[in-house]
């Protein structure tokens, strides 16, 4: 028995001497600490992937730039206005748990370090991302979000309140940057503007203008704030774009990587809604936005018709024009033409028609520039007898239609989701029934594959299943017809 006791004693000794031996549960495969620059790059990568990937494809179809090709069916549900409740799982996760959570880290680090520059960058990107979440989904979690396991069911906030808070956060960040002018030290880790703070101030102003323009038909319309912004006139002077792509696996333009490389370019073909808008107006942007079919022709189909058995059963995607996106095509967060059209609309609403016209024409020209086209063609089109002439004498609504139609045509392959959101906000280009005598080619139509009742199109998309299942404070919407706050009567 004594030996036994000894054995146990020895074993216990061995154990106590080895208790440090068990402190090996720190993952050696990941860093224990990171810095704000690394997280900022990651956040920009996440935003870019959604803007240039999932939102690009969804927006491209909902804005009627592209439509589902016959003989394939990956995006039938989009053209059928029949999105599943699990459609948005990935993009929602990438934005909330990816981009925004990283931006929270950047905000907290830069605040601790008194780095007002990086704080402004992160504030802009957070506001930009939240704005799209509101515009696409409606009311979403905001104030209670990003609290980890201490609040696993964040309640939603009204879109209106989120918008107002975003504006005030941008103003606060701008003020603290202006008050204590620290230039961000993230340098090249800022993959949008390489930490050029002047550019980020311009981004902040343009983003504010965009938020105000969304609010223009609501009780929150703020002409004073817009007028101040316009009078400062300090908007984007360079496209806010992500360009760090190379032609290699997982490093390409997100739309190209998946739609063209992985899925084989068989789903999205040119929708006649956009294609015929360009052809009707002899607009050379046709040949930049789309690539021709195998015969070298630019042929599109009506929105949604590819899903039907007739008349294109058996036709393949290559027989039609398709989106011309290259492996290294930049992803634009906000572009110069968008900025111009925002200003044009603001002037039309709150300033003079002449100022609106000036910005409108600048928008068309900048659009041609962005697509790498000669501005002479643009000048022809916007000349008084050109197809895109601006009528400064027309009433506001007609001016808005001219501006937004051009904005729509300028956002194709640039910011597709923005184009869809703007069609919802403004109703332009007009949505007509193909049977309507007023129908002319190049308008938006009700998708011919729609499963929604006649005369209806989606006004937002379902909250993702994952969120609904995990967040007890979020209730799924009954259908896709729920309008977001700035679109409600």
């Amino acid at each position: 028995m004594k030996k036994l006791v000894n054995l146990i004693f020895i074993s216990l000794l061995a154990l106590t001497s080895c208790s440090d031996d068990l402190d090996i549960n720190t993952d050696p495969n990941t860093p224990q600490e990171i810095n704000k620059g690394l997280a900022l790059s990651a956040a920009q990568g996440s935003i870019t992937t959604i803007m240039g990937g999932e939102f690009f494809n969804l927006g491209g179809m909902f804005a009627q730039f592209y439509t589902q090709a016959p003989s394939a069916g990956q995006y039938d549900a989009i053209d059928q206005y029949n999105l599943d409740t699990d459609y948005a799982n990935r993009l929602w996760t990438e934005l909330y748990a990816g981009a925004l959570n990283d931006l929270e880290f950047v905000l907290s680090e830069s605040e601790d370090q008194g780095d007002t520059g990086t704080y402004l960058i992160a504030t802009c990107l957070k506001a930009y991302t939240m704005q799209y979440l509101v515009d696409v989904f409606g009311d979403v979690p905001y104030n209670e979000a990003f609290q980890g396991s201490s609040n696993i069911s964040p309640s939603t906030d009204e879109g209106e309140e989120i918008y107002l808070d975003l504006l005030s956060k941008i103003d606060k960040a701008l003020a603290s940057y202006k008050g204590n002018n620290i230039n961000s030290d993230v340098g090249q880790q800022d993959l949008i503007f390489a930490a050029d703070m002047d550019k980020w101030v311009q981004f902040a102003n343009t983003l504010k203008l965009k938020l105000y323009s969304r609010m223009s038909n609501t009780d929150q319309a703020n002409s004073a704030a817009v007028t101040t912004l316009l009078s400062e006139g300090n908007f984007l002077t360079e496209n806010a774009s992500f360009t760090a792509f190379t032609d290699a696996t997982s490093k390409r333009n997100p739309y190209y990587e998946v739609q063209i490389q992985a899925l084989g370019d068989v789903n999205d073909v040119a929708s006649n809604s956009l294609l015929e808008f360009y052809t009707r107006n002899n607009d050379p942007r046709l040949e930049r936005v789309f690539k021709p079919n195998t015969e070298g022709e630019y042929i599109g189909i009506e929105q949604g018709i590819g899903i039907l058995a007739e008349p294109y059963g058996g036709y393949q995607a290559q027989e039609f024009a398709r989106p011309d996106i290259q492996p290294t095509t930049p992803v634009y967060l906000m572009s110069l033409p968008e900025s111009s059209f925002l200003q044009a609309e603001a002037y039309a609403r709150y300033g003079s028609s002449e100022q609106a016209q000036e910005k409108y024409e600048e928008g068309v020209i900048r659009s041609f520039e962005l697509y790498g086209l000669s501005t002479a063609d643009a000048m022809d089109l916007i000349s008084p007898d050109g197809a895109y002439a601006f009528d400064a004498t027309a009433d506001l609504e007609d001016q808005l239609e001219t501006i937004i139609n051009q904005k729509w045509a300028a956002l194709a392959n640039v910011n597709n989701i923005e184009a869809w959101i703007e069609t919802r906000r403004t109703g332009y280009p007009l949505l007509v029934d193909t049977q309507d005598p007023a129908y002319e080619e190049g308008r938006r139509i009700y998708s011919l594959a729609s499963v929604l009742p006649e005369g209806q199109i989606p006004a937002s998309i379902y909250y993702p299943d994952n969120e609904v299942q995990r967040n007890s404070n979020l209730t799924q919407k009954p259908n896709l017809l729920q309008e977001v706050w700035w679109n409600q009567d």
């Binding site: 036994l4 054995l7 061995a14 154990l15 080895c18 068990l22 402190d23 549960n25 993952d27 495969n29 860093p31 690394l38 790059s41 990568g45 992937t49 959604i50 990937g53 999932e54 003989s71 394939a72 029949n82 599943d84 699990d86 799982n89 990935r90 929602w92 934005l95 909330y96 990816g98 959570n101 979690p141 979000a145 609290q147 980890g148 396991s149 696993i152 090249q188 880790q189 032609d247 290699a248 997982s250 490093k251 998946v258 739609q259 490389q261 899925l263 084989g264 370019d265 195998t294 007739e310 059963g313 058996g314 393949q316 290559q318 499963v451 009742p453 994952n466 969120e467 299942q469 995990r470």
Partner: protein
């Protein structure tokens, strides 16, 4: 046993032939059993002398003895009888069956040997003969149907694919449900090398299949927590204890065995034979489906026009289209073992070689295994040293499963009128990737089979070293060291698919830039045990056996992987054959465990036994406060047959047992602390955007939230059982009821992304498993010289349920697809299949779209659970003298599974299930269409739109009707048939061989499935062999049946 007996006979025979004493009388007589059947080979000895004989075939003997001598009649399995010689010269003896099991010794936890009678928990021991009878190369498969309550599922019949073992149901949703394998007292790694990737899955097997079944002396399966708790957390799913063969003292003996199998495809989906190539009811020559017009037998062109020519064939159904693609697989296994030694030291050396080529043409699916094992032991006074060392080398290649350009996915979409063999020459101008008949996401399967591929190689060394020293005659101390280490390497490549510009397939979705990837892992386990055993009799009635132990276990792994997403040169596969930079990653992992334990058995009058286990573990994987976990178990057995002598006429063995045990279970390393991960974004589910980009690297806040409060899982199990043998063991019943609960399930708690995270490793619920296991054996005929018929029924039910789930969760996602998935819900059986259902209005009518096709409801519904209601193994064994026939049926009833084979063959219109209403237009019964009134509300009107022939394909692929891709997985299989013949010993005496046996073996010869399964062998899975495999298959390779023969000899 038989060997031993034969040697004894021989010895006695020799003895009797030399010692002939002059005796007064010759006594003769017959020896029989209690049924009056004569017993041949009974030893008859005059007590106290060397004078002895054996009974002949008729049970008769003749021996010289004097009056007053005592004759001793002994026979294996019978109670020895003694009869004093009287005046009579005829003495008949009747021998009674010995309840030999009473003294059977079983190796239990940590190498402790205990009498079987003392075990208070269900324990099954399978001996070498049973293990090797079916000539399985994989020990898990060798156990199939032989142990009640153990569910063994082979992921597939592909060469080298893994088999999983789940004992008494699913006990954890987060971790592994596989048992712990212990070889000669040392735990070994049973990790798997598989991928359930939907676009190219593979399975290169599990660690347990590196063990050569021919080296196994016995396998003991410990099921309940009261028995397994001694092994600690890793034994929570049960333990399979393997004792390997050691050398036999005496003359050098050589064992040889050779097995060959020939394998054919056994189950292919049933195809419709009425409609041929096309889509939308139109005969289109580039369609990958059979939605065309009705067959008419007229000659029609098919395929693309190439160089102004096109091929012609009659428009007719192709019989056995898939069967014609596959060929005969082969399996050759050869074993040799040499053993010898003296009374103090023995040694055994074995070698085996296995070469297997599957049913795919070419050797794209193959598996080779070489094992070398050395086992030696030596006794030097009080010191005993033993050790074994095993080297295993395996090489495999597999044909990828899943969607995309996998061979099977290409095959299943070929219209049912095209002859697959026509595509064999894949460089032919009509068949090459440029001109292959379809551009729709698939290409020539022969191209993929020959050009894409994979290779797997593993080098493994495992073994144990043990030294024990007898301190006294009732106690000893033992140190045991175990090592298990392997390195494996996996390579995958896909060919460039680049049709010529201008060809029909240029720009199609099949265009691929090629790829290459390679990964290497090094996995190591070190295990130390120090044991102190004591075995003492306190007094005549009370005995004590006790083992104290200390265990230290370290497991480490390291891996390095690289891949490149394009290839430049065709036909050469390498990381450097690309304009892209390869993506590389590495990872390492380490976990440690200390355990201190005691196992004590008290016995009273050799009929009441009480065993207690207690163990404390310290885990590196848990937070410091929760690191130390104490648990244990107690079980009791009562050998009541010894208490009530009177019942022994009917009952010759009776034992009642009961046990309760708890086991603590830790989790994987690195689950507690927050992490930062390399910058990467999910791109539409088909790709990702990965940093570095533009020379800039990124790290992001990981999506898993920290959990400093994580506790171990705790399994609590109660069991009660009865072992009965009636009528001299003619009827044997082994029955167990168990009820287990596993609390504090460690699971990934999915967090809403709005929290900033997507998951947290947390304690989230409780699972219960309740079931019965019953093994009934009947000796229908028993005649040691003639005809024998034994039957065995092996019945089990198990109900796994998610009893409680953290209120933060409505369900647990266990895998599957985004459309149809595997989930667990509180209070429901584990696990459930959930999927889309048609949208209905308030009256329950089905809402259809403008084409008359049902629209999917916005919420999914549960289709049902994936568990078998019960399983029944039914074995018959007939033997006549040296010939025996053995066959086993396996019946599994109930449960659902997803089948992608069903999904795809329905989508392309090949499946016979797409023939509803002979494809004539029909209106979905009780359906409505929705319309909108002026005030915007939705109303429903009766649907009058019949689904047109052109839209028929959309009906069969409608999301709303996904239920049709989920099938009943019940089946009845003729699992194994073995016909064996051992050459009679008379014949063998004239040869240098000690024995020679020949067997013909059939496997999976027949399969019956219910009506809803027109597609596959429901045992296959592409989701591994653990919980997630319950979901089903995603274009798994077809299963096989095989026929083989085996020859074994020893000299």
């Amino acid at each position: 046993m038989r060997i031993h007996y034969n040697l004894g006979c021989l010895l006695l025979f020799l003895l009797t032939s030399i010692s002939t004493f002059a005796q007064s009388n010759t006594i003769t007589g017959t020896v029989s059993d209690t049924d009056g059947m004569p017993l041949p080979g009974v030893n008859v000895i005059v007590k106290g002398t060397n004078n002895g004989v054996q009974t002949d075939f008729d049970g008769e003997y003749s021996i010289k003895a004097s009056e007053g001598d005592v004759l001793v009649f002994s026979f294996v399995g019978m109670i020895t009888a003694e009869i004093t010689v009287q005046q009579a010269t005829t003495i008949d003896a009747t021998l009674e069956q010995n309840t030999a099991q009473l003294d059977e010794v079983v190796v239990t936890a940590v190498g402790i040997e205990r009498e079987k009678a003392s075990l208070g928990s269900a324990t099954t021991t399978v001996n070498a003969e049973e293990i090797t009878r079916g000539a399985q190369s994989n020990i898990a498969d060798a156990l199939k149907g032989k142990v009640a309550g153990v569910n063994i599922s082979a992921a597939s019949t592909d060469p080298g694919a893994s088999s999983g073992v789940i004992i008494r149901g699913i006990s954890t949703m987060g971790g592994s449900n596989q048992p712990l394998y212990v070889v000669d007292g040392v735990p070994i790694n049973n990790g798997s090398a598989f991928s359930s990737s939907l676009g190219g899955g593979y399975d290169f097997g599990r660690g347990s299949q590196d063990i050569n079944p021919d080296n196994i002396k016995s396998m003991t399966i410990l099921k309940g927590a009261s028995a397994t708790s001694l092994y600690g957390s890793r034994a929570a799913n049960g333990v399979i204890i393997i004792t390997t063969k050691s050398g036999q003292s005496g003359k050098l003996s050589v064992e040889l065995g050779s097995t060959s199998f020939f394998t054919r495809i056994s189950r292919t989906p049933n195809y419709q034979s009425t409609y041929g190539q096309g889509w939308d009811f139109t005969h289109r020559l580039n369609e990958n489906g059979s939605w065309g017009p009705r067959f008419d037998g007229t000659p029609r062109v098919w395929g693309n026009v190439v160089d102004n020519s096109q091929r012609l064939k009659p428009y007719l159904f192709q019989e056995d289209q898939l069967e014609n693609f596959f060929d005969t697989g082969t399996f050759f296994q050869n074993n040799v073992a040499v053993s010898g030694g003296n009374e103090n030291s023995t040694v055994r050396l074995s070698y085996s070689n296995l070469r297997q080529d599957g049913i795919y043409p070419t050797d794209a699916d193959s598996y080779d295994r070489n094992t070398i094992g050395l086992n030696a032991q030596s006794k030097m006074g009080k010191l005993k040293i033993s050790g074994n060392l095993n080297y295993v080398n395996t090489e495999g290649a597999s044909v990828a499963t899943g969607q995309g350009l996998t061979v099977l996915n290409n095959l299943l979409q070929i219209p049912n009128d095209l002859n697959i063999n026509e595509f064999k020459d894949y460089n032919n101008k009509f068949n090459n990737i440029s001109n292959y008949y379809t551009p729709y996401g698939i290409t020539n399967p022969y191209f993929t089979l020959n050009e894409d591929g994979s290779a797997y190689e593993k080098e493994r060394v495992y073994g144990a070293l043990e030294a024990s020293y007898d301190l006294t005659d009732w106690s000893k101390v033992t140190y045991r060291f175990g090592l298990d280490q392997y390195t494996d390497n996996t390579q995958f490549w896909t060919a460039i698919v680049d049709p010529e510009p201008g060809s029909p397939n240029a720009g199609a979705s099949t265009v691929q830039p090629g790829s290459y990837s390679e990964s290497t892992r090094m996995v190591k386990q070190l295990n130390h045990d120090i044991l102190y055993d004591l075995n003492a009799e306190v007094n005549k009635d009370l005995g004590i056996q006790s083992t104290f132990g200390f265990n230290y276990n370290i497991r480490t792994s390291r891996s390095l992987a690289a891949s490149v997403g394009s290839q430049d040169l065709f036909g050469f596969y390498s990381l450097s054959n690309s304009g892209e930079n390869p993506q590389a990653s590495s990872s390492e992992s380490e976990r440690r465990l200390y355990g201190l334990y005691n196992n004590t058995t008290l016995s009273f009058k050799d009929q009441l036994y009480l065993t207690g286990n207690i163990r404390n573990d310290w885990y590196s994987t848990l937070p410091e406060e929760n690191r130390s976990v104490l648990y244990g178990g107690v079980n009791a057995s009562w050998l009541f047959i010894k208490t009530f002598d009177g019942i022994s006429d009917v009952l010759n063995y009776g034992k009642l047992r009961a046990g309760y045990g708890e086991v603590g279970v830790d989790t994987d390393p690195y689950q507690i602390n927050p992490i930062y991960v390399s910058g990467s974004a999910d791109n539409q589910g088909f790709g990702s955007l990965n940093f570095p980009l533009g020379g800039v690297n990124a790290y992001e806040v990981g999506n898993r939230a920290a959990n400093p409060n994580l506790k171990p899982e705790r399994r609590k199990e109660f069991e009660v059982g009865l072992d009965l043998e009636f009528f001299k063991s003619r009827i044997t019943l082994d029955f167990t009821y168990y009820n287990a609960r596993v609390e504090n399930q460690i699971l990934s708690l999915p967090l809403a992304a709005t929290t900033g995270y997507t998951s947290q490793t947390a304690n989230l619920g409780e699972i219960s498993n309740e079931g019965i296991e019953a093994l009934l054996k009947l000796a229908v005929f028993r005649n040691s010289r003639g005809f024998n018929w034994n039957m065995a029924f092996n019945f089990a039910t198990n109900d796994s349920r998610l009893e409680e789930l953290d209120e933060r969760l409505t369900q647990v996602s266990l895998g599957g697809l985004s459309t149809t998935s595997l989930v667990a819900l509180e209070g429901m059986p584990l696990a459930l299949i959930e999927g889309s259902v048609p949208q209905t209005n308030d009256e329950g009518q089905i809402v259809v779209d403008s084409n008359g096709i049902p629209i999917a409801a916005s919420t999914k519904e549960i289709y049902g659970d994936t568990q078998y209601d019960y399983t029944l193994g039914f074995t018959n064994e007939f033997s006549y003298k040296n010939l025996s026939l053995n066959f086993t049926f396996d019946l599994r009833e109930g449960g659902l599974m997803y089948s992608r084979t069903a999904d795809i063959t329905r989508f392309v219109g090949n499946s016979v299930t797409t023939m509803y209403n002979d494809r004539q237009p029909f209106i979905v019964p009780n359906s409505v269409q929705q319309s909108v009134t002026d005030d915007g509300s939705i109303t429903y009107v009766e649907n009058t739109t019949a689904i047109s022939r052109a839209n028929m394909d959309d009906y069969y692929s409608a999301t709303a009707l996904s239920r049709n891709t989920v099938i009943d997985k019940s089946f009845l299989k003729l699992r194994e048939v073995v016909l064996s013949y051992s050459l009679p010993s008379k014949l063998m005496d004239k040869t240098p061989l000690d024995n020679l046996s020949l067997s013909i073996i059939g496997r999976n010869l027949f399969l019956w499935t219910p009506e809803s399964n027109q597609f596959i062998d429901p045992e296959i899975s592409t989701f591994g062999t653990d919980l997630s495999s319950q979901f089903g298959e995603f274009s798994a390779n077809p299963s096989t049946r095989s026929l083989g023969f085996s020859i074994k000899t020893r000299f």
